[in-house]
């Protein structure tokens, strides 16, 4: 990216001289590359749609997510129930919309958690070096060499009850309204489990980026002309490290959605009756032969979201890290 900057600067100089050459910055250049890729635009649309659904979906849902209509169980799509009802008469469309909120919340918060943890630890490792670097790098190695999702499910299974007990205890002691409904306990456990397996990736990348960028000529040049360390970090290190980071966060985001549904499928994530696409698949899985649409709908939803986010990540990778994508 150093070359990109220097070529951009060269172009700027040229345009000042000739006044005819239009210049494009790094980001607008990347944006043009992204827009040119049709698949990543589809991915971007799906990504935005997921957010909109996560925020507004529950308000648009025609029924509450746990309302049962026991006279119309396991029906196909109809005028009243646009996507049909599940085996105990709940509206599929409403549950899918609520599931989008679950997926969105889990993906955002677990990504933010693990990103923060990764940034802090990766930054410390790169800046302090010596023993801190050694310690953090070993921690990264160990965490990454453990089967990741297997351990996430272990952690989610183990800590669900202690966290729920803790919330109960807090309610008994403080009587605060916040602790009275333990519905968010599942979410907290899932955030924790996912953040715990995702941080090493971010930490390793941030450490590597800082270490390699620090040695680059333009950083040395900035230092040489007397730019303060903070400004170097702000103007040179962070913008250059941002490209790969954005790509990684995008993939991590999709991964978190798939992982949350996976944990919920196994019964250690979001518990019924809360709607999660994963537990919707599990609940309806046994009836795939007689009512295949009940499995197919949440399944296709997850698949579309995951495919979309990954195509977006792939497109972003090509757009933001052009030299890596050349081959």
């Amino acid at each position: 990216m150093a070359q990109n900057e220097s070529t951009a600067e060269l172009a700027r100089d040229l345009s000042q001289e000739t006044n005819t050459l239009k210049t494009r910055g790094l980001w607008s250049d990347a944006f043009r590359r992204l827009v040119r890729n049709r698949l990543s635009i589809i991915g971007l649309v799906i990504f935005v749609l997921l957010f909109v659904t996560a925020i507004f979906g529950p308000f648009m849902a025609p029924y509450p997510y746990m309302l049962q209509d026991l006279e119309r169980v396991a029906e196909g799509p109809s005028r009243d129930y646009l996507l049909g009802t599940d085996a105990i008469g709940r509206d599929m469309l409403s549950r899918l919309l609520w599931g989008a909120r679950t997926a969105g919340i889990v993906a955002i918060i677990s990504t933010v958690f693990s990103l923060l943890l990764g940034m802090i630890l990766g930054g410390i490792a790169a800046y302090i070096g010596s023993w801190a670097d050694w310690l953090i790098s070993r921690a990264i190695d160990v965490t990454m060499s453990i089967p990741q999702l297997l351990f996430a499910s272990l952690i989610a299974a183990t800590f669900r009850k202690p966290v729920a007990d803790f919330v109960d205890m807090m309610y008994a002691q403080t009587g605060m309204e916040f602790f009275s409904t333990p519905t968010y306990v599942d979410l907290v456990v899932v955030f924790g489990a996912l953040a715990l397996i995702q941080w090493p990736g971010y930490a390793r990348m941030i450490r590597g980026q800082i270490l390699s960028l620090r040695e680059k000529e333009f950083v040395e040049a900035a230092r040489a002309v007397g730019v303060s360390q903070f400004i170097v970090l702000l103007r040179h290190l962070i913008p250059n490290a941002l490209g790969p980071l954005i790509v990684m966060v995008t993939f991590g985001f999709g991964g978190a959605i798939v992982a949350e549904s996976g944990l919920s499928y196994l019964g250690v994530g979001v518990q019924p009756p809360q709607a999660s696409w994963g537990n919707m698949i599990f609940e309806n899985q046994d009836s795939w032969r007689y009512r295949p649409w009940l499995v197919a709908m949440p399944g296709f939803t997850i698949a579309i979201v995951s495919v979309g986010i990954n195509f977006l990540g792939d497109g972003l990778n090509d757009a933001l890290n052009p030299r890596q994508a050349e081959s």
Partner: protein
């Protein structure tokens, strides 16, 4: 070389130790108290244990000892192959793992074969027809497949093969490796890593193709097949080998979903049964075993790597 090997082996020891420590800590801090379970089981039969009896039980299980003593005893048991007992029926866990192992092992091997014999050729084809429609189709298709989680893939494939195409019956239970359900299962759990292998192979080959020795090989009149087989593929496939360790991790996680849906009595289903019935020693045992296998495979890959690529430094 000896130094390299001993370094690799030495690194795995603290990793394994820490993994054991984490698993033990989970059990130590976790929600299940074996004495409490026993008390509940006895109480169901109308026998109520007194406080002294509970304390006695605690002592006999070593639960009153300090943390590190308990951890030491746990390690000792593991070394003797004692993975603990199921909370549900008090049966030892190790025999179950041993019984489930061939099923999961066969699935992983099958998936590995599919990966090697389909993934690598597809990657080579994509690289050979770089920037053509075929390349885009293979790369795009592999990203597409990679994105779809197994728990979606399984019911969708079942619907396709059983309901729509009507090619097979509902797969129920283990019928050996020559049965269609095994082939389908191995194919499903191989798909995600297959996508990875395709992309890696393609990237590696494109990189190697730029080397001078490839041009030399072509210039001296070797056939395209020989150039690919002798000069390109051999160098391009080395990185693919390194990701084998990660694949075991992935296979395990995929086969949890697959074995549940297909009712295969493998490690994955054992794990899922443990999760649903909150049988903690069972899931710790299976997880530990898988972690150990993954690390062992990573070690083997690390050791084989310098043999494949003499350029790798031994330090």
């Amino acid at each position: 070389m000896t130094r390299y090997i001993s370094m690799r082996v030495l690194i795995i020891i603290p990793t394994l130790f820490l993994t054991l420590m984490i698993v033990f800590l989970l059990g130590y801090l976790g929600p299940i108290d074996p004495v409490d379970i026993k008390r509940a089981q006895w109480a169901q039969q109308g026998v109520f244990m007194s406080e002294e009896q509970l304390a006695e039980e605690r002592r006999s299980l070593g639960l009153d000892k300090p943390f590190f003593v308990q951890f030491g005893a746990y390690l000792g048991n593991l070394l003797q192959g004692k993975f603990g007992y199921s909370y549900i029926d008090s049966a030892p866990i190790w025999p179950r793992i041993k019984k489930a192992l061939p099923v999961s092992g066969a699935l992983a091997l099958g998936a590995m074969l599919i990966m090697v014999f389909i993934g690598i050729p597809l990657g080579i084809i994509a690289a050979r027809f770089h920037n053509t429609r075929l390349d885009y189709a293979i790369v795009g298709g592999s990203l597409f497949v990679w994105s779809i989680p197994t728990y979606v893939l399984v019911p969708v494939t079942l619907m396709t093969f059983v309901l729509w195409l009507d090619l097979m019956n509902v797969p129920r239970g283990w019928k050996g490796v020559w049965h269609a359900s095994f082939v389908l299962g191995a194919a499903i759990i191989s798909l995600r890593t297959l996508a990875n292998v395709i992309r890696q192979t393609r990237g590696g080959i494109l990189e190697v193709l730029q080397n001078d020795y490839v041009r030399t090989a072509r210039a001296k009149g070797l056939t395209e097949f020989l150039v690919m087989a002798r000069h390109v593929a051999r160098n391009a496939l080395i990185p693919v080998v390194t990701s084998l360790g990660l694949m075991v991790d992935d296979f395990m996680w995929q086969s949890v979903f697959l074995e549940v849906a297909f009712n295969f009595p493998g490690l994955g289903r054992l794990f899922q049964q443990g999760l649903t019935s909150r049988d903690f020693d069972m899931i710790y045992g299976v997880a530990l075993f898988t972690a150990g296998m993954t690390m062992l495979l990573n070690l083997i890959v690390d050791l084989v790597y310098p043999l494949l690529d003499p350029r790798v430094a031994y330090d």
